[in-house]
Symmetry: D4
Subunit: 247 residues, 8 copies
């Protein structure tokens, strides 16, 4: 039953208010046996559902994509395996895929939205952090934010950062991506006025413990204005940066 | 020596009571060199031995299955590798296998038992948690409980949960399966009167540390009525739910 | 505004259904600036709010108690400091306090409810686990369950457990309280048909790491039918046992 | 040497540019032997230095405060011991102190700044999280943001949250403060369009491990739009919320 | 230079005592560039060097074996990869290999030594712990101890243990091998008079954390007489048991 | 009912064998409400119950002591608080107390047993490990073993160890007590033929994490013949050493 | 723009000093989209950039190498995959590769520099630690230090170490490489006057937790003069040793 | 027996060389029952024994000090409690005590040694790290190194560091002391040519976990030339810096 029918029934007194509410809840879910797509999410949070690809079969990912497109939602699918990328490209030839960021974008309409004027700076510490930084950049752009990238600006050579700091300062939010000791987040935050979303990565020798070292370091930043997302979670950083950028 | 012989010997005074007891203990074990099957378990705990497949060879799994079937026990074998599944199907064509839950059921008799009238609700947070949820569901059904499933009801879209909460409330126990931050367990427990068995899963980004994040979260639930089983342990949850359901 | 007024307004068309719902939500909360008491909890989960005393001032605890009593709810306050116990006894001379379990019970009416016929077995491993076991026992009794206690039955002397196992088997749920290696939970669960709620305690030498050793052990129980609550969380175990006992 | 003298010297060619730069750097530091106050911080990051009281003697705290006031900066000193609070009040009778949040504010001028029109919502899970929530609130207000508080809205009673969600939605940023399993952050983030700054607290039973459980849970939030600050770091949350609020 | 020459030189006053000592030290080492075999170890500790195969190439393993055999030492090589086993069998056709325990024994003489009269009991909790238990058994036998095995005696079915406890009591040392919660060590130690060497294994669901759960449990045993070796370290347990057995 | 009565009843056919067994089990327990003393322990494990003082009140400790003495058992009570020591000395003036090891010994008869001829070497790394080493020494002597102590022999000055190694080699077991990096255990084990019981202590700078560093180090000893007991568990080491010494 | 042009512009007053500085910063970076090579590093720290191969594609590694060679820098690339080694050898036939240490050296000029007179001692505990020890040795030699190696000198056979200690004492720095319990670092440091750089390796049984045991042990060394680098970080140790050696 | 007597006996053939060696070893130890002072340490490692005060009684500390002074060694005692400081001052009025660094220096002769010409830079991140930085400084000076201090130079205000970097560059070693995220070590190491000894401190909010965050960060430094000592181990850093400084 769609939303309109429910409301008419309510008006005609055929159902009561609480019954109506339950129906409305159900109406805003697209139920695919394995997945209940939250069709109300855009209204509630400002952005539709995104497909977290890890642990889902290529078939499930395509099914969910199809349903989202039917509902007029653009599709962003992250953490795609090689198989999932192939399947997505076969099913949706119009999909745009990033090999390095392991994600796919499938627009439901002809063209992407115009991007915001204000910009997000995506700053990364090392070349090896690039896959996470790209996930952040592409996520932010998917939702409609402009970005600028400043890659390989780790603190071992501070001038790599200071030589671009004025450009970073023109942005409205900073995403700081770093593995190893994650010091980039603190140093950047000490130099800018805007919020810094820090993303620890799993890059490093043994005692990085899969990114734990960088995560703890960023959590403990001595500079103000840093908040942290999960290890390697470029998506989360891009999303957070976007909603701040477009506040 | 079987139980009857032992008791007769005891009656005839050929053995003393303590000797008899030792013999009875031994008689309730089927010794397969690598494995001592506990044939007394059903009498003691209400349910026979189950085969935990991890770390056992396909050959060992089939041997144990065969012995259990000979003793009139139904077989539930979990955590099966692809090889083990093939071998089980070759040896026991009547076996019912779940690819997603990685388990096999082999009935010793013609038909499965009737299922309980009261139901277990198996609620999961995301599509990627499905393999664990299915292990819980199939385990509970193996032992004789009816179940209802509510998959992909994570708290990021609360109405996915609230739209089915009345149906969940009709069940006698809830199994709540969630990875990432595992908040589902707390939210469900705040809405129902029955026990909630929480199962953390290993689904998530880096700082889920293989399910540790969800495990700790569920342990620390601010809602009452939650108890927790091991990470990805759908079997344990299904078993616990079953014994509560049929109390 | 109380519930009745809200419903009348709704009937008279002075407010709409969604407004009514919001008002009803608010009406079921007693707002004490620092605390929002959930007056709907009994209807929803079968049991009223309980006061977790840790981190609250004696004054806050008494204020909340007073409000709960006014609403006709019995009071259970746990984790009380010496100061909080004194203050509670001064304010509510009828309160019953357990020094060892650090909790207080204040009945809103003349007498406690009748206790259930079926029983909960509270089994503990060592004398030093007693404060947690008593928290479990008194919690279960507060909510209306009968209990039996079997203290100091740790597995270092198995006959201390086996000599009472038949009495434990007559109970409908078992709470197993143990620090150190927490083996009690596995051993008991291998001997009974009913659910075992395991409570790790922080008792032990250095490498118990505040109860982590027992927690992990209980999580990994090789016996079926064990689920686990937080370290030293006698309250949670008592509550879980009670709702299972009275299903 | 003050900034003006340096620039004059440079103009007169008495010093070279690099020398000038070094002098300017030094000029923007107030050196108190134990502490180098960063007088340039407001220009660079939008906010002056704050005194982190932990590990400093009352004497050091007062000395730093005095110097900051001399430089025309307002003082915010956090994590104050009882001794430090007494000393601050003795030295600066005009200081405003929060006993619960353990902080002091000393204005350098007559009156506080006008507060922002847009608001920050400070939402907390339980009464025991109040000290951290208050640190966040007072920090945000110190820097010039308006706030609204919603305390004790933990997910064990969802209607405590949903009954105020519309008011929360009117705010521009949310600070979500929770101990135990920290689920509040995920649930709120699933219901709002604005950024959620999550603050884990050290409130909880043993396996919260001093706030680690909540920290990991918040890191792993299944809802989008959550970023996390350090355990019990109300200051960091308030600061982050403020800079987002006034972007 | 061999030992004899050194001593003669010393006698003839051609070298001084300290020089002699340095030469003796060197003489007791067989230096293979990658490896310095400790030829003095048997004299010092009662047993020759053993080859820990992990991280060594098949070539290195064979080279060390050859040198040991030349010096009249029997060879025990543990943790062998498939490649290493093949290479060892090609080079030393007389080698005895255990596929399950991943080790090889190569005797330097015709026949193995006579085994001790007193026995070591190797007790394991589950079938999946067998590879570690076998490593322990074969190690103990390599050094000259008799053994008896009691596999799959986990505490979920206590009678599997109690039915053999009298036979275990006849042994002089017990090796207790268990994964999951590792309770076997405590229960056995509560029933015997002899030392129990506990070996945690990496068998278990997620929260066993690779054997950490069992390790901590065994460390915290409430029964006296338990000491612990590394996770999956069957070799260490077998060695310890042997030296105790032959004291 | 005492053992004799039970056996007579059984002889007269007044009770059956299983009933008799249950009664015998109960008869071997002295039940003090808070504590069930295991009177069968000496028969089963070779040594009577010991009182672990942590978490017990002085009153409980004295009550248990009294009962043990009544049953003819000597008393060893460890981990005593100052209060407990005072109370014990008041109640049992004959008690022998070690302030540094925090334990008390109360003999039930006139004189202590003769000590074993073979000796236990108690070797410690630093002066600060002395309280644990003394707990080990006094425990071993309580049970009847002779000991020799070699304190402050840490590996930073190897000759402190090598100058006494010949005396250590005359002992039948070694207890090696060390905090910090715990290297003492490996070095000693590489020099002797007998078993080494390693005790990690909580002595050290921050990253010893309460003894975890030493515990892991000892677990990973590259020398053979080391097994490990809990952090600061001098008692456990002394007990283990004793049973090995008197095998 | 190169440095000369910038300085000329500054002289001619075409740019101001701060602009000049920004340009100079940029001029010292070779920007390859994915990587910003820090061309100023040698001037600042005494050594040029090194390529950390993990997480970089073979193509990126070759591109960076090429650019470094163009700028007259020698190339050291570590942590190379098999693919990366092949690609490097194809592109730079003059490269010198170590299969065991997984690194490549490509000289920009005809010949390597002369090596220092003073030496670095690289001491390792076991054969399995060799790949890390070789990374340290080759790194130190790349930068211009002479080295001596002492492999397989673990403390289980102290004379393997003491027989070479005089040669070690002739060196100016010691690199101590060890897995398992990492005791080598403490023992060496107690015998020499020079700094010891300790490198924990990931060699060991389960409870080495990927090198954590050795790392903590080395951190907690009871001997003075030890500092520690990351697990398996032979490069870091070699670099540190080199700068100390050539101070 | 003193060294001279031993050598004479050896000359006269009254003892053999190995006996002599054992006696020499013993002679280089001052045995105080609780402590074996290593009198050979200066000869072997270049520096005499230091007293680690934690876990020692004031009496033991004074006894050891007295013995060291008798042997002509200067005394450095660290980690002193208030009681120990009082006792030391009472016994040795000439002692120099640092309240903040918790250490005492007692010279055996009239005056301290001349300090080295080359200098150690002690750089700290925040005021709260001062007690550790002072321990490092005073330790280095005790052994004879000159120092310069640069306190409160954390990376949140980089110019606090860059304004003094030229002075730091004049030093021969850097000690970098930082809590929280410990980024100071990486940033300094990227700017200097000399070795950086990093000291993590336990300063920080909850998720610093007692200094673990800073320790891991420093271990994972992306800048070359950093090695790390234990948390809060100012002594170790000062010692390491000194031996490098005076190489």
């Amino acid at each position: 039953m769609d939303l309109k029918s429910i409301l008419e029934k309510l008006e005609r007194g055929e159902i009561r208010a609480d019954e109506a509410q339950r129906l409305i809840s159900s109406a805003s879910i697209a139920n695919l046996s394995h997945t209940r797509i939250d069709l109300d999410r855009r209204a509630r949070t400002g952005a539709g559902e995104v497909i977290f690809g890890a642990g889902k079969t290529p078939g499930q990912i395509c099914e969910i994509s199809k349903k989202l497109l039917e509902c007029g939602e653009d599709v962003l699918a992250t953490r795609l395996s090689d198989d999932a990328i192939s399947e997505v490209l076969r099913e949706f030839p119009q999909a745009k895929v990033s090999e390095i960021a392991r994600l796919a974008v499938i627009r439901s309409g002809e063209k992407a939205k115009a991007l915001s004027e204000s910009k997000i700076a995506v700053v990364s510490a090392g070349t090896s952090d690039m896959r996470v930084a790209e996930e952040a950049r592409l996520t932010a752009e998917f939702f409609g934010s402009s970005t600028r990238t400043f890659y390989d600006c780790g603190v071992a050579g501070l001038h790599r950062l200071t030589s671009v700091i004025d450009e970073i300062r023109e942005c409205r939010v900073v995403v700081a991506v770093a593995g190893m000791e994650g010091a980039l987040a603190s140093v950047v935050a000490g130099l800018v006025k805007v919020p810094v979303i820090a993303v620890p990565t799993s890059v490093g020798y043994g005692a990085s413990f899969g990114g734990l070292a960088a995560l703890l370091a960023m959590m403990n930043s001595c500079a103000n204005g840093v908040s942290v997302v999960n290890i390697d979670n470029g998506f989360g950083a891009g999303y957070n940066a976007h909603i701040i950028n477009t506040l």
